[in-house]
Point group: C2
Chain length 269, copies 2
Amino acid sequence: MRTLLDIKTEFNEYLNQTLPNRNDLEKGIRYAMLEGGSRFRPLLFLTIIETFGLDASRYFSIALAIEMVHASSLVHDDLPEMDNDEIRRGIPTVHKAFGHPQALLIGDAMLANSFQYIATNKLLLETEKVNLIRALSEAAGSEGLVLGQYNELASEKPTLDELNAIHHLKTGKMFELSVRAAMIVANRRGNNGEWLYFSSLLGVLYQIKDDFMDFKENHDLKIETYVSIVGVDRTKEIYREKRESLFTLVKQLDSNGSLLKDLIETMFM
Amino acid sequence: MRTLLDIKTEFNEYLNQTLPNRNDLEKGIRYAMLEGGSRFRPLLFLTIIETFGLDASRYFSIALAIEMVHASSLVHDDLPEMDNDEIRRGIPTVHKAFGHPQALLIGDAMLANSFQYIATNKLLLETEKVNLIRALSEAAGSEGLVLGQYNELASEKPTLDELNAIHHLKTGKMFELSVRAAMIVANRRGNNGEWLYFSSLLGVLYQIKDDFMDFKENHDLKIETYVSIVGVDRTKEIYREKRESLFTLVKQLDSNGSLLKDLIETMFM
């Protein structure tokens, strides 16, 4: 029986073998993709695939595409004009390691390339590829991830609802993509409401956790977060309530296996 | 009989009607797409479509995708960390008009969105969509446009061959995409060698013209160009020779119509 760690290890090896290394641009893409990272989004996709009774290893190229879009947004997020971060995952950010215009281009190449990993897949039907590409483009573009980042720039004093809306776009849409992508390759139609509820709950919980970690690291954060809006105690309460709902839901969704349960429990233990 | 100007006008109207305008991010995308532009790449695709006996108007969404990828690269190219341009097409560049991090995100959204316009097309077969998406991703990503930009950053004193290689990636790959995309939707197999030769000749000529215009505007350019490497007179000679070859080839390729001939002659008259 394959464990969550087995799949993560296999997937990391796949990335290492699949990503080319012929020039500086490709080295930059490898740096952005291979140096650490939770792999939460691809693992979410891969464990749901297993929950649906399919073999995760056959869908690594889709998982790669999902991770590549996510990682490209981190490369651009770290740039001086955005968050101006110098360290990510304990090592220099891409623009510190490769240069500033280089990082801009590395992120662009990753975003453009990601669609290729779906289009050139040898196992999927053409219809499945088109549906996956459409879902990826929608999650990443001006109705998903990028809109969340854009709205975040504009929101100086968001209400809790506004903050939730930003997080839904910035984080939730890519989680939803992992879920939708699994539904597409498993050819599941109808009756997917509980899975979409699962992905939205996951997005909210992920963000509360993130905000709380930021607060613990720095009590004087200049940005609005769950903690600054509703306070520490209420944040903890909301987190525990939602985590309880999520765990209950996952037990139901992953009733025959344990991979998805393990992934979610590891993330929110 | 439809003229080149008719098609350009129709296509511009299509863009104006198709691109949404619901929030600041979408306004930014419209600004980057609608304010001028030669539309050379989409018109190249559309006129070849007509040369193949198809109706260009049916393929505007593909032309939009091609133009959007090109325009997204211009938005990022103009950023301070790249060319630091404040004016494009006579108006402020996107980052001057919308802000610096906003322009980064506008370019990202355009790149991500472009694939959607192909994936959601109602007329194409699924196989055609997948082939188009693959071609677009390859032309735009780490083996095409972005690699050309990346190599250009690194090349301080390129030889003529190195300069040609950069231009082939930066400009030629997107021209080749326009040609390939037309071949895909016209379902042309085999015997496309002359079309690919046409696109490569076009790329070289376009770049020589661009370098020569830059030289005429500013004799003390700090970057290496055709003119700085082979001199003004030799540049003019090469340009005229290659233009002659291109015009001869186009007459042959567009023997029944005049749209493609008109496009090429307008561009290089």
